[in-house]
């Protein structure tokens, strides 16, 4: 929200500019990218292709919404990528090519996620270790643990009834399960963030932890809950990714920590917390995925994604700093 001044007669140019300044930058960026894609690859806009795009965007969006809670509360979660790898590997191992083990696999995957989120949150809030360090450490711990657990290569295997969440469509339609799950996560994310006392408190903690505490907010509990949410949504992301791209490597989750942070920064969340919303995070994630598609259509090699992402993070924060919002 921009500061409000009384609107007196101003030249049309200025009024237009003011109107434009209220449109989120990310929406403009997203539209520009989508228009460029339309020019390069018009087939992108066929319904099936579009749904396919959304299916591929779903994991980033889901993970970014979890990351969003952590970042709004003023922290980072760098461990989501490794956690995704851990969840995928554990799922493959528990299912072990037997469809009957599906429920057990979910119990393990989400159980691990909750424990990892709790540990992150408690270390940050009780031991006062900066989240940047805590979750970076957790990233390494999880990576090491998964190498030991799998002895270097994925074990077991997932079955179709697990794969369907990331890969399949709802029977008789062209609508991917991943898309529905994504909508569900967005809905829950919006509800928690914008309609509940928890969401309010997340904003307050990120905006001014001291004032929040003196207003009766349990800062430690709010941050810890945010880390748990982030971990649980990373696990949801893991289910989607494992279904979509399989569990053939120990790097399935690699890069999701930075992709989620890039998406959120693009979406206008202030680093340090207190500002931003789910719509911004979703648009940021879509923009990131659309840029990846565009680069793909333009025939750039895959690794260029990393460089683009790096530039995006720096650029988005620089723009935000110029606007005096961080």
């Amino acid at each position: 929200m921009e500061s409000t001044f009384s609107t007196t007669q101003t030249p049309i140019g200025q009024r237009l500019r003011r109107l434009l300044s209220k449109v989120p930058v990310i929406l403009i960026v997203l539209l520009v990218v989508l228009i460029l894609i339309a020019l390069v690859a018009p087939t992108f806009y066929r319904p099936v292709a579009l749904l396919n795009f959304l299916k591929r965007a779903a994991p980033i969006i889901v993970v970014a919404i979890g990351q969003m809670y952590v970042m709004l509360s003023g922290e980072f979660d760098l461990s989501v990528g490794s956690l995704i790898t851990v969840c995928a590997a554990v799922a493959a191992n528990v299912i072990n090519n037997n469809p009957d083990n599906l429920a057990l696999a979910f119990v393990w995957v989400f159980g691990i996620a909750i424990v990892v989120g709790l540990i992150n949150g408690l270390i940050v809030t009780r031991l006062n270790v900066p989240s940047f360090v805590t979750t970076l450490g957790m990233l390494l711990v999880l990576q090491g643990a998964i190498s030991i657990y799998t002895r270097g290569a994925p074990q077991g295997g997932i079955t179709d009834n697990f794969r369907v969440f990331g890969r399949g469509n709802i029977e008789g339609t062209e609508i991917p399960y991943a898309f529905v799950i994504m909508l569900l996560v967005i809905a829950i994310g919006v509800y928690l963030m914008h309609f509940t006392t928890f969401g309010r408190r997340v904003y307050a903690v990120g905006g001014n932890p001291v004032a929040a505490r003196l207003s009766g907010v349990n800062v430690g509990r709010i941050k810890t809950t945010a880390f748990v949410l982030s971990a649980v949504l990373a696990a949801v992301g893991a289910v989607l990714i494992a279904g979509f791209s399989g569990v053939s490597s120990l790097s399935v989750g690699q890069g999701y920590e930075f992709q989620s942070i890039s998406a959120i920064v693009l979406g206008g969340v202030a680093l340090g917390g207190g500002r931003g919303n789910i719509a911004g995070a979703v648009m940021g994630a879509l923009t990131l995925q659309a840029m990846f598609s565009l680069l793909n259509f333009l025939g750039f090699p895959l690794p260029i994604r990393l460089s683009v992402q790096g530039l995006i993070i720096i650029g988005a924060v620089a723009i935000a700093a110029r606007r005096g919002r961080t």
Partner: protein, 519 residues
């Protein structure tokens, strides 16, 4: 030069002069036609209450502020300090309360920061240490030049600051409350150091409200009050009582609402018995009744704010009993205090009172969120009507409930803070400096609101450093000093002199002179 027999110092040419300095801030005159001078080798004390203009004057001397009118004359030359280094270039150094030292570098590195002696391309460490040792020796200060600043005591850090200033060829030293953080013994050595500097010809402007120190070292004293110079006099010609009176004596020009009538005051809402916490609170006992406003006076650091934070569950209680509405309570965090009906209006609105990037509505709703929710779902219409009602009754001037509070004026921000606590329907409100940094109109509004709350049966504890506010608002006045409540006066009959003397320990001076010196 005309000899002026009544003052010794006036026979000399001033080294530093401020002539007719005026400085306005929006809505406030911080300094009005202030003239002030120092002769070489003089210790000139600058005294005044909080808000009298001492720090503004100092910021002008340091180049942080530029005066709206008046001129600064150093060594008979008019000067304009337009950046912080300008004062330094004219031989003026300022020792702030917060030191500007690098904690993890050595004493020598700090003193020679940015002008290290070089040998070729390398810093000549040995010479730097030798020069530092010589410098400290000259000041009779015993500090190891290679020690890390973070390992030094506060008093030693201060000595390093002074040594650094002198090594920059400063011969005018401005010291802002230099003894505020020192122990009794350290105060003595600092005062001796000041006298040694004076003998070396250094001119010192000594800002303090500890009158005993001033009488030990100052040649002249200037009293500031409400942004004006009340008097400048040789120290021999004034007494402590004179100074206290000059510092606080002022006309009442603010309207305060009428006090509570005896029949309005009901049973106790808060009772403290022998409450102690670390070295900050010592055996505090007090009673606050429903319908009553109790003013808590005292100097900064006397334990008032600490007491408030103990009551609100922010700081730990070591021993003693707190009874809230007759029930013993021991809050471990603010949630518990809020749930029990306590509200705390902090003196630092921006750092502790508000979440600046959030809206008026969200800030107002924060402490009372639990009152308007079902399973965590916020009942928005109830929230909107509550915010609407509070904004109207407090006459909040905002562009709307969704405006971010950072864009509001100080007075309106304070109204948002008040609204937060009104929404919790607290039975005990602790106000810490309720009208600090607020313009006169908004002040009166807040005072009336406080009285209205009291008359509705809320107990109000008001910490204030503004004596007119304490006198005008309180039904009873408690004075704190060094963590204890040392005096109690009825609001009707108390005077500024009485409070100031109790706060500075002058009333017990005969019995306990050494303690008085520390205040």
């Amino acid at each position: 030069m005309l000899p002026q027999p009544e003052t010794l110092t006036a026979q000399q040419t001033p080294i530093l002069e401020m002539r007719g300095i005026t400085k306005h801030f929006p809505g406030v005159i911080a300094l009005q036609d202030v003239s002030f001078d120092c002769v070489p080798g003089e210790v000139h004390a600058l005294v005044g209450e909080n808000g009298a203009g001492k720090s503004t004057l100092m910021k002008i001397l340091s180049g942080a502020y530029r005066p709206d009118a008046g001129e600064l004359v150093v060594r008979q030359r008019p000067v304009v300090f337009d950046h912080p280094q300008a004062a330094q270039q004219h031989g003026i150094s300022i020792i702030y309360q917060e030191f500007n030292l690098l904690p993890y570098r050595s004493v020598a590195h700090n003193i020679f920061l940015g002008r290290e002696p070089m040998r070729g391309q390398m810093v000549d460490e040995r010479r730097m240490v030798q020069d530092t040792a010589a410098l400290l020796e000259e000041l009779s200060v015993k500090i190891n030049p290679t020690a890390l600043v973070s390992n030094l005591r506060v008093a030693q850090q201060q000595e390093v600051e002074i040594a650094k200033a002198l090594s920059l060829n400063a011969d005018i030293l401005i010291m802002d409350e230099p003894t505020a953080a020192l122990s009794l013994h350290e105060v003595d050595s600092l005062l001796e150091l000041v006298l040694r500097l004076k003998r070396r010809g250094v001119t010192i402007v000594y800002i303090s409200h500890r009158l005993d120190e001033i009488f030990r070292i100052a040649d002249r004293v200037t009293v500031l009050k409400d942004g004006r110079v009340v008097t400048t006099a040789p120290i021999a010609e004034v007494t402590r009582d004179d100074l206290v009176h000059l510092m606080v004596g002022r006309e009442f020009d603010t309207y305060f609402p009428p006090r509570a009538r005896p029949e309005d005051i009901k049973g106790p809402i808060l009772e403290l018995r022998g409450v102690s916490s670390g070295s900050s609170l010592k055996n505090v006992s007090l009673t606050l009744r429903r319908g009553e406003i109790v003013g808590l006076a005292g100097l900064e650091g006397s334990g008032r704010t600490f007491l408030a934070r103990v009551l609100f569950g922010v700081e730990r209680l070591d021993s003693g009993t707190i009874l809230l509405d007759g029930q013993p309570v021991r809050f471990r965090n603010p949630q518990q205090a809020i749930a029990a009906g306590v509200g705390f209006i902090s003196d630092d609105r921006k750092a502790e009172g508000l979440v600046l990037p959030l809206s008026v509505r969200w800030n107002m709703a924060l402490p009372s969120l639990n009152r308007r929710q079902k399973m965590g779902y916020i009942q928005r219409s109830a929230e909107r009507s509550m915010v609407q009602m509070l904004s109207e009754s407090l006459d909040l001037r905002a562009a709307g409930a969704d405006q971010e509070v950072q864009y509001l004026s100080g007075g309106n921000q304070q109204k948002v803070v008040l609204a937060k606590w009104l929404a919790t329907q607290a039975c005990l409100l602790i106000f810490d400096e309720p009208t600090r940094g607020i313009d006169v109109g908004a002040k009166a509004g807040i005072h009336q609101l406080m009285r209205r709350l009291a008359s509705q049966g809320v107990g109000i504890l008001m910490i204030s450093s503004e004596l007119p506010e304490v006198l005008g608002m309180s039904d009873r006045i408690l004075v704190m000093r060094q963590g204890s409540v040392v005096a109690e006066f009825p609001g009707e009959t108390a005077t500024e002199d009485m409070i100031m003397k109790a706060a500075t320990g002058l009333t017990t001076n005969g019995a306990n002179g050494a303690e008085g010196a520390e205040v």
